[in-house]
Symmetry: C2
Subunit: 297 residues, 2 copies
């Protein structure tokens, strides 16, 4: 969990609620009960706690320690497909060792946000009855912590990464061949996110391509990938998907990708988490139907 | 019609059959009878004539004049999303003034390849019973021949361009708003091509997003956009789409986009037009079904 300073062509916010756990939790809360594990400093605002608690998110695993909350500042390019990091202050995140409360351990669905692979593995190890575990990673870990990452991925059911990361991790430019190599590393399901161009799901020997939702206006893409992850994993949990227990339907994985895209698209409509302050489940379902109407042939 | 010299990461061909009319004609021939209007020099090979004639393409409008056929040479980047033009010799194309044979004038479907807008308009003016007219253009004409292009577009039913061209023509970055502006210029239907990321169709107040077909291997993308145009317009002709006569189904436009994508994807599988030497209608239909299977949710 973080505070972010963000500048896009549509405006600038010096400090607003952010972080992978925040976005994932907010998006997933529309589909299933959510429990967050994260760390914040003593500067973390009561109103930000209230936003999360108001969505029914369990904050027992949210550690609050002396010091400042992680801070990130970035600026987006004119077309918002690129961004430059201006500042990263790890603050209390530097010494974070995630510890799961007892009440979290038997939860069947685990989504690991983008942090050091060893920490992701340590969280996974504290869980006792996981049906589906998956998560995110990034170029930094792929390049500098490869062995640790490979060790971590071995136990995952799904991996969500973008196309350049899939190419980097596999050493293959072609995405079909990249996916086949990554699936051999552990995750039987891979989702390659392509921003405004949609996503591709690879599972078993099949793939599913979903175009991006065509927004009228992109205000701020911060958190869109995490909201995709939240919508995706929240929907899997809602459906009770259980690949090891034999309950797995191709349509569930596919619809999870669409719900991920839906949540990512809402995220971009306002700065930071603002869209989630008013977003209703009815709006989510309406956009899912619109997605279907705009892709059917 | 042209000869091309092409280098991709998979190989190099010094001289092979190419040109928009060639690719469009080959792709469209799987759906409807095709008549080509173009110019070649006296170096144009008999075997290239035979390839086209063998697909049932009418070559009465193919002018053969003294001199050399248009020649283009280019080299693709490692990921094949960019290319550099190394040489363009207009040759006999420099003085091309398209003249339609009498037997062409009453044809109801017209696709105008990417040439100077005034020439496109001159072809349109020779037609007597057009139901659907549309075509392609490029950044060069948008930037340097804007008024001429706008005059030409006014009579078109559809325009096929890529995303950067749509942004350039409209002055809008957001594709939904760009499309709305372009539709006011004349073409009620706009297809924005996005290469490997698929295409978006805008028609009336609706849009349809199609992801790209995920190829195992891209050998040579030369001509893929023209094959999209050929598959798209060939399918419209096969279905007898007639927006002015009241026969227009949303599903026809959408399926035309998918058939366009199918033909573009085959084009990339081998160098130049080679894939069309062996491609069967059964393979085309199988890929359409595969497209459906990979996008359904």
């Amino acid at each position: 969990m973080a505070y972010d300073g963000v500048e896009t062509p549509h405006g600038k916010v010096d400090r607003m609620l952010g972080g992978a756990a925040t976005y994932i939790g907010l998006a997933a809360s529309y589909f299933a009960p959510v429990k967050i594990v994260a760390v914040v400093g003593d500067d973390f605002a009561a109103e930000d706690m209230e936003l999360l608690a108001g969505k029914g998110i369990d904050l027992e695993g949210l550690e609050r320690v002396p010091g400042k909350t992680f801070f990130w500042e970035g600026k987006y390019s004119a077309d918002m497909n690129d961004r430059e990091t201006l500042r990263t202050d790890l603050n209390v995140f530097a010494n974070f060792q995630p510890k799961l409360p007892e009440s979290y351990r038997a939860v069947p669905y685990l989504l690991l946000g983008n942090i050091q692979p060893a920490l992701q593995r340590a969280v996974r190890a504290q869980m006792t009855g996981v049906k589906v575990a998956g998560g995110d990673t990034m170029n930094y870990w792929i390049a500098g912590y490869r062995d640790e990452l490979l060790e971590t991925l071995r136990d995952w059911d799904f991996l969500l990464i973008n196309d350049s990361e899939a190419r980097m991790l596999s050493g293959e430019h072609n995405l079909r061949r990249a996916a086949a190599k990554i699936q051999e590393m552990g995750p039987r399901t891979l989702v390659v996110k392509r921003g405004e161009f949609g996503a591709i799901l690879f599972t078993g020997g099949c793939h599913f391509t979903a175009p991006g939702y065509l927004l009228d206006k992109v205000f701020d893409p911060t958190g869109a990938g995490d909201c995709f992850a939240g919508g995706f994993s929240g929907y899997l949990a809602q459906r009770g998907v259980d690949p090891h227990g034999g309950k797995v339907e191709m349509q569930d994985w596919r619809r999870a990708v669409i719900y991920g895209s839906v949540m990512g698209s809402f995220c971009c409509e306002q700065f930071g988490v603002d869209r989630f302050r008013t977003l209703t489940l009815e709006e989510v379902e309406a956009r899912y139907r619109e997605f279907k109407a705009c892709t059917d042939f």
